[in-house]
Amino acid sequence: MSDFDIGKPVRKVDNDIKLSGQAKYIADFHIDGMLYARTVRADCPRGIIKRIDIPVLPEGYFSVTADDIPGKNIIKFLADDWPFLAKDRVNYFGEAILLIVGPDRAKLLELAGRVYIEYEMIPAILTIKDALSNNFTPIFGSDNKFASYNYEKGDVDRGFSAAFKVVREKYSTGYQKQAYLENQGMIAVPENDGKISVYGSMQCPYYVKNALVQALAVGEEKVRIVQAFTGGGFGGKEDYPSLLAGHAAFAALKTRRPVAVLYEREEDTAYTPRRHPAEVTLETALDREGRILGMKADIKLNGGAYAGISEVVLQRSIYNICGVYNIENLRVTGAAVATNTVPNGAFRGFGAPQVIFAIEMHMESLAKIFSYDVLDYKKRHMAKQGDRTATNGLFYDEIKLPEMIEKAQEVSFYTSKRAAYQADPELHKGIGISLFLHGCGFTGSGERDIIKAQLKLRRKKDSKRVEIFAANVDMGQGLQTTFRKIAASVLDISVADVIFAYPDTDRVPDSGPTVASRSIMIVGRLLQKAAERLKKRWQENNDIEIIQDYEAPERIKWKGGESSGDAYPAYSWGVNVVEVEIDPLTCETSVTGAWSVFDIGQPIDEMIVEGQIQGGMFQGLGYAAMEVMANDENGRSRQNNLTNYTIPTAMDFAPIENHLMKTYYEDGPFGAKGAGELTLLGAAPAYASAVAQAMNIHIAKLPVTPEYIMREASENE
């Protein structure tokens, strides 16, 4: 198949089942005898549970509390702190305390409403400032930090001592909810032999499995996790499904019946993880010509009430703090702090959107202080192949940013528009450009030391069909198609002859979670290698099974304890341009143009990659412009549905025009790198830069709402 172009789009394998409404998402399952569970939640942000009164339940109805958990009442994440069901104390408004289980949903609602819980209130920590103030009893450890890091590259003190000028700025970013269209849901089915099967909407079947093995205190063979059609994830179904599966499983074991836990939009919006709010301080030492001599960066993430995966999110924030710039003298400190709010988790970009916004806006400020053209100034500081990363790793591959910027300028007319809008402030128009990168795959040595992905490929005797066994899920991003394409093109067979069922942990090895833009680059590479081995044995007339284990590229050097070395095996790159026009009466923004250029290596399917870009940039624009989420005085989310948590509609933004800069990454399948997360990172800073120009204001905060623009503009007057 020498003329086979892997990038050429094929018809996605799951189009028809989804288009016709036949795809079964978890809420579409019908299982005989199935019961429903309703969650009873904390209605205070922090307190000791003094008493729980559960009403007398009619026959066929059950309650499930922490005491019904056979094993450890802790969800298996990085730290041992997050219980499935609160027992003695609650740490956030909405924390799950118990479940009421039974056949009739109306009855469950009524019974759950009659559960009475008495608390001894403890003063709640609601903000990052409170979290670090010492005025409160810590929620986590002695310093109330889930994680704190510091690292240094070069000689920062020398850089600062030579400074002509030091510029210090603060940036902050808000929550963002994944707002996948399908709410979270799980169904647990007790099997005959003490085994439990759990079906649901998820990104990481083995995370769920491992969580249940620990919580149920059973052998691995007693837990089976099967992914159902999943209506979007964007990171939101990385960690939380483990909790939900636990709830369903405890209830199923207690009732000996299948039990469904299906969240409605309100529960999903208000009580499941979202993107971490961040406070970023950047302090930069500059010489007379505005050259950067050194930078001190401090990043604080609001982790919420439990550690979850905040530490890893923080790592991505601190290791991406330089964006695309080569900062030789760098000191970074960072902390993920505990507050009595919903635990935050993964969301496309995973700690990077916050810092990319900050560094891009900061670079713009520096350029303005020295009266340089913003783009020229950024270009002067851009990293090149062979430069060192923030963590003193190596930019090993070619960096095509200069060509990408040129392309972006060409298609958007950025340069002439920027000048024209600057010349006429009465137009209230602006155009902004952002440069950014994303480290693909797990941070540090995670792939080698923690995930240890394994994939299996099988061809049965007398069959021409090949089956992929992997735990990675399709949640809309097209993996069902791209994985098949990779195998088919190596083996020179038709896509239709590749089988890739939705993951079932009884059948597939642990190829790791579907996160971190790793599925194609890491697992796809395993698949390619396995297929190459299978191809060599294609003539054998036997059952053939290939097991492929992850091997880290030799060149990757990483010292986790010191935050030193190659934090990522490869980087994908992006340039975004966003153009806006603002109504001066209302400060409402119209996005009148959006352009992008991305280097994600070789696209495995250009159409699928285009979908990732369109969707990712759109989410980025939502993050930038309109997605507001904030807590009330009880730490309770003020937004709890899709009416008050507003994601963009088809009428909100101009179409995005995208171009790909093809490169070849030697350790990715066919040269592919990660794509999914990168696409979200650049929209917010490009948008903010455009708005800043249009209204002649400084923007230090996301989201950039009309309320914020109006306030800043009036202070300027």
């Binding site: 809420a27 429903y36 949903r105 109306a106 609602l109 299906l262 409605e264 001066p584 009466l585 209302t586 400060c587 409402e588 309109m626 507001v628 003020r638 937004q639 009416t643 008050n644 507003t646 963009p648 509609t649 088809a650 009428m651 909100d652 009309p706 309320e707 109006m710 306030r711 009036s714």
Partner: protein, 284 residues
């Protein structure tokens, strides 16, 4: 147990209203949301429901001489398409909710919902719309501004039904219209502030101006006596404008809520207000 009734004429419907506590429901796009409960559970309606869809008298949509009569069951989508719908109202309808809601929701429902942010209300106030209420005692007609008394509150009596809306056609002096809905996004959004204005000029003089502002107080703000200060003028001098704006300021008393801030609403409402008074003078 909630009982539902589907009377097919007004007489039967009014009889039900007299006999019992029964809540009218038309398209249900407000009520089904307000009383909604999770999937698989009936809405939490507390009493019996009167479905208006089959009441023939409420399905009338007609232009008679200078009067437009819009029966209470008329959907928002029907009004968008109706050729007699005043331009100012149509502008608001086009930005209201989204197609699926407009296909079912009614203008009468929007009035009875009496939300300060109700999308059709500023145009209806500016157009001097009249609501027709029918009860045991007969029909009474009220300006929409007297019908709505506060958020979710109207003067509809227990035995009455809102059966239709009257607009005058051609709407008096509808030469010039302005409508602006300020919202978080361009569809499916609730107004943070909205302003509807119509006006006309004659020989360079302002003949009429009507301005209605939504979501800045418990009810839509319209100040006819202040509008009259501008009428007959060719220029609004600084002193007069100060008086006019000062009077509006007394009524522009918005709140902070999940959608926006009081400060933003106040300033935006002022900006739009100044814009329309300015333009009315400048406009030829």
């Amino acid at each position: 147990m909630v009982e539902s009734f589907f009377p097919d004429n007004l007489e039967k419907a009014l009889e039900l209203r007299q006999k019992k506590e029964i809540r009218p429901i038309a398209g249900g796009t407000d009520l089904m949301v307000r009383w909604r409960r999770p999937a698989g559970i009936l809405p939490a309606f507390s009493g019996d429901m009167l479905f208006t869809k089959n009441i023939a008298e409420m399905n009338i949509l007609q232009k008679k001489d200078t009067c437009l009569y819009i029966g209470a069951n008329t959907t928002l989508a029907q009004l968008i398409e109706w050729k007699w719908t005043p331009r100012l109202l149509r502008l608001a309808l086009l930005e209201m909710a989204a197609p699926a809601v407009r296909n079912v929701g009614t203008i009468a429902g929007n009035i009875c919902n009496a939300s300060p942010a109700g999308d059709t209300l500023p145009p209806l106030y500016a157009l001097d719309a009249v609501v027709c209420l029918q009860g045991a005692a007969g029909i009474r007609e009220l300006p929409v501004s007297s019908f709505i008394t506060g958020p979710g509150r109207t003067v509809l009596k227990r035995d009455e039904l809102l059966i239709g809306i009257k607009l005058f056609f051609p709407a008096p002096d509808n030469d010039m219209v302005f409508y602006k809905k300020v919202a978080v996004r361009r569809a499916a959004a609730i107004a943070k502030v909205s302003l509807a204005m119509r006006g006309s000029k004659k020989n360079g003089y302002v003949k009429t101006i009507a301005v209605a502002i939504g979501a800045v107080g418990p009810t839509v703000v319209r100040l006819p006596e202040i509008e009259r200060l501008a009428e007959g003028k060719t220029v609004l001098n600084a002193e007069l404008l100060k008086t006019i704006y000062g009077e509006y300021d007394k009524f522009i008393q918005p709140i902070d809520d999940v959608r926006s801030t009081a400060d933003y609403r106040r300033q935006t409402a002022r900006n739009l207000l100044h814009h329309v008074y300015d333009n009315c003078i400048k406009w030829n």
